[in-house]
């Protein structure tokens, strides 16, 4: 049976949470804004516009340039904003997606500036009747622009191609299907690490703990109350993100909802243990800040939240897969998009719980109460 002091400790944290309007924003509104922003940015892009810096050789005129792509359809358009003109060439079709190239005649210095500022990825120059492409060979975007432009200048017409392009719009294959489960997993990490670690360190540095440990309060009860509170809050946060994604992006849980709930709680337990361990001896919030960032930043980048970790070298992938956030995110993605159930995610559940339990016990053993 829950005793009164444990219930009081949980109540204290929930009150502390909802009485701080800024916390409400970061916990609930911010993840939604992020899901919305990223979902929009990567999802609804059937048409893109790319600027290309066009540098015409001093000895040549625009007419010489226009001759170079006589095979290509183009419009010469006036930019009413600054009274300059640009060439508009379009690549692609409905199925492939449309890319509008804006070729802007500029000086070499201006062209370099456009690249440095990221508004153009490629410089096109004319040199004695030939076209020169200047771009960073490591930039995928520039490579793609190069291929698309050469194809256009060679007069290739996509409509005449033999290949058939069929856009994938099924659920589970869109970027947003990849993103939302990852965001839910990441939210568990962020909410737990900041919500538990930071709160515990702050309580110690403000000497809130010192007065409490001078009472008969069982010490484990204090820490456990933080974890239980976090489970409640994480559920509230995840429900809001999910509800938004469900209505706005039509995201669904294809697999076992029960397995998802158990995996979700396991994730909270896993990160809670880690949070307690980090907080166990850290005296100052500034140090805690650094420590928490040190742990969450690599996972945010590596665990396949915003982009797949399969782009990393094969040798590091097993290490990435061993990170708690990767396990949680992969598990949730499998349940959401691949109709997975306990059979597929039990391994993650066991490891996350074991990880949480071990770190919790070590943290509690070395915990500095004042």
């Amino acid at each position: 049976m829950l005793n009164r002091s444990f219930l009081q400790l949980i109540l204290v944290q929930i009150r502390d949470f909802y009485r701080e309007p800024a916390v409400l924003f970061w916990a609930f509104l911010f993840p939604i804004l992020m899901a919305w922003g990223l979902g929009i940015a990567f999802n609804k892009k059937p048409e893109v516009t790319k600027t290309i810096a066009l540098v015409i050789n001093e000895k040549e005129s625009t007419l010489d340039f226009e001759k170079l792509f006589k095979n290509t359809q183009y419009d010469k358009k006036l930019d009413s904003l600054n009274d300059t003109y640009y060439y508009n060439i379009t690549y692609g079709n409905e199925n492939l997606g449309l890319t509008h190239f804006r070729l802007k005649p500029v000086s070499w210095q201006q062209a370099e500036l456009l690249v440095k500022r990221g508004s153009a990825s490629l410089i096109l120059a004319t040199n004695e009747g030939k076209l020169e492409y200047h771009f960073d060979k490591f930039s995928a975007e520039a490579q793609l622009a190069y291929l698309q432009l050469t194809s256009l200048f060679n007069g290739e017409n996509l409509y005449e191609q033999q290949a058939v392009i069929k856009p994938m719009t099924e659920k589970g294959t869109r970027y947003i299907d990849f993103l939302i489960p990852g965001l839910i997993a990441m939210n568990v990490m962020m909410s737990t690490m900041w919500g538990i670690s930071y709160t515990l360190i702050e309580a110690r540095s403000k000497k809130l703990l010192r007065r409490m440990v001078a009472t008969p309060m069982p010490r484990w009860e204090y820490i456990l109350s933080h974890i239980v509170t976090r489970i409640v809050l994480c559920f509230a946060e995840a429900s809001i993100i999910f509800a938004f994604a469900y209505y706005y992006f039509d995201i669904k849980i294809e697999g076992s909802i029960f397995a998802f709930i158990i995996l979700f709680i396991s994730g909270i337990i896993g990160f809670s243990g880690l949070a307690v361990l980090i907080a166990s001896r850290t005296a100052k919030t500034q140090i805690g800040n650094g420590l928490i960032n040190l742990i969450i930043m690599p996972m945010m980048l590596l665990s396949g939240i915003y982009f797949s970790y399969h782009n990393f070298p094969d040798t590091v992938i097993p290490f990435i897969q061993a990170l708690p956030l990767t396990m949680l995110a992969d598990g949730i993605k499998a349940i959401f998009n691949e109709s997975a159930g306990f059979a597929e995610v039990w391994k993650y559940i066991v490891i996350l719980n074991a990880f949480g339990l071990i770190t919790f016990v070590i943290g509690l053993k070395y915990y500095k109460w004042y």
């Binding site: 002091s5 109540l11 502390d16 809130l208 001078a214 009472t215």
Partner: protein, 309 residues
């Protein structure tokens, strides 16, 4: 005499090279109100924290109702209650919720929450957030929590430091009424002389980790009760030889401020001689004051510095 509730026997505490507490012994009887008086850094808080069990002494014994911290932690948490030098609570909790939380640790009924809030006169602030309380109100809240479990031994670490005179007086009144109504032993640390004089049955004067003197105010002063003070200021430096002679114990001369304290056996006998000497040597006085010895004078004569320093 009844068995003491607290015995501190030959206790030492070192921090690196600093002897924070350097072999102190004292005891507290049930119902006694004791002041640990001393300047900052005297070792008062370290002493209190060792009694609270937050710090462990390097040497010596601390018995609380015959128990020590090593084996009786949960029992001692019931016997001792305390307010820290600066107790912080959760900002976004109300006074009522904060006391409620602590009451739940002691498994006390809600009626007790109302009782202690009433004792410290915070009824009107019951629903205010802790962050909106003044310094004095916070100390009252800390006091309310310290009173919750009716512990037989109450440790109050500088409960009025940093408070304005009105707030200090309010805390004093609460403590005075507690003293009358409860059979609780209280140890209060302070560097305010008046506080020790006003509230406490017995005063323990500490400096640099040692106990300089202890006893009731009367005892402390009566050891020196044949002493009186002539306090004066001049515009010139003077030679200490002027003030030797029968009936003069000591001259404490501040050569920077040109102020002096002459500790004498009797003002009536010594003042005419003093004035005569001043006149003979053509010294100009800017201030002259005659009075009985106070605790502050006693402290200065023992340590050479003021309590507040």
């Amino acid at each position: 005499m009844s068995t003491p509730i607290l015995e501190v026997i030959e206790v030492y505490k070192y921090f690196k090279n600093v002897k924070a507490v350097d072999g102190i012994s004292f005891s507290v009887n049930p119902g006694e109100f004791i002041a640990l008086l001393g300047p900052n850094g005297a070792g008062k808080t370290t002493t209190v924290e060792m009694i609270e069990g937050i710090q462990k002494q390097n040497k010596g014994t601390i018995n609380i109702s015959g128990l020590n911290w090593a084996a009786n932690e949960s029992k001692l948490h019931q016997i001792i209650s305390l307010s820290l030098q600066e107790t912080r609570f959760i900002d976004k909790l109300t006074v009522n919720e904060t006391v409620q939380l602590f009451a739940s640790f002691y498994k006390l009924p809600r009626t007790r929450v109302d009782e202690v809030i009433e004792i410290v006169a915070l009824q009107e602030k019951k629903k205010s957030y802790v962050e909106n309380l003044s310094g004095g109100q916070r100390q009252k809240l800390a006091l309310a929590i310290a009173l919750l479990n009716k512990a037989p031994l109450l440790l109050l670490d500088e409960p009025t430091t940093g408070l304005d005179p009105t707030a200090r007086r309010e805390i004093w009144n609460i403590l005075m009424s507690l003293k009358k109504s409860l059979n609780t032993s209280i140890i209060l640390t302070t560097h305010y002389m008046e506080e020790a004089e006003y509230l406490c049955d017995r005063i323990i004067i500490m400096d640099k980790g040692k106990i300089l003197a202890q006893g009731t105010l009367e005892e402390l002063l009566s050891a020196n009760n044949s002493k009186e003070i002539i306090e004066f200021a001049t515009i010139d430096n003077i030679s200490e030889q002027f003030f030797c002679g029968d009936g003069i114990y000591k001259l404490i001369w501040d050569e920077n401020a040109f102020t002096g304290k002459l500790i004498v056996k009797s003002i009536i006998e010594q003042l005419p001689i003093f004035l005569q000497k001043i006149k003979e040597n053509g010294i100009k006085l800017t201030k002259l004051e005659c009075r009985k010895l106070t605790l502050d004078d006693l402290f200065i004569s023992m340590t050479g510095k003021h309590l507040g320093d």
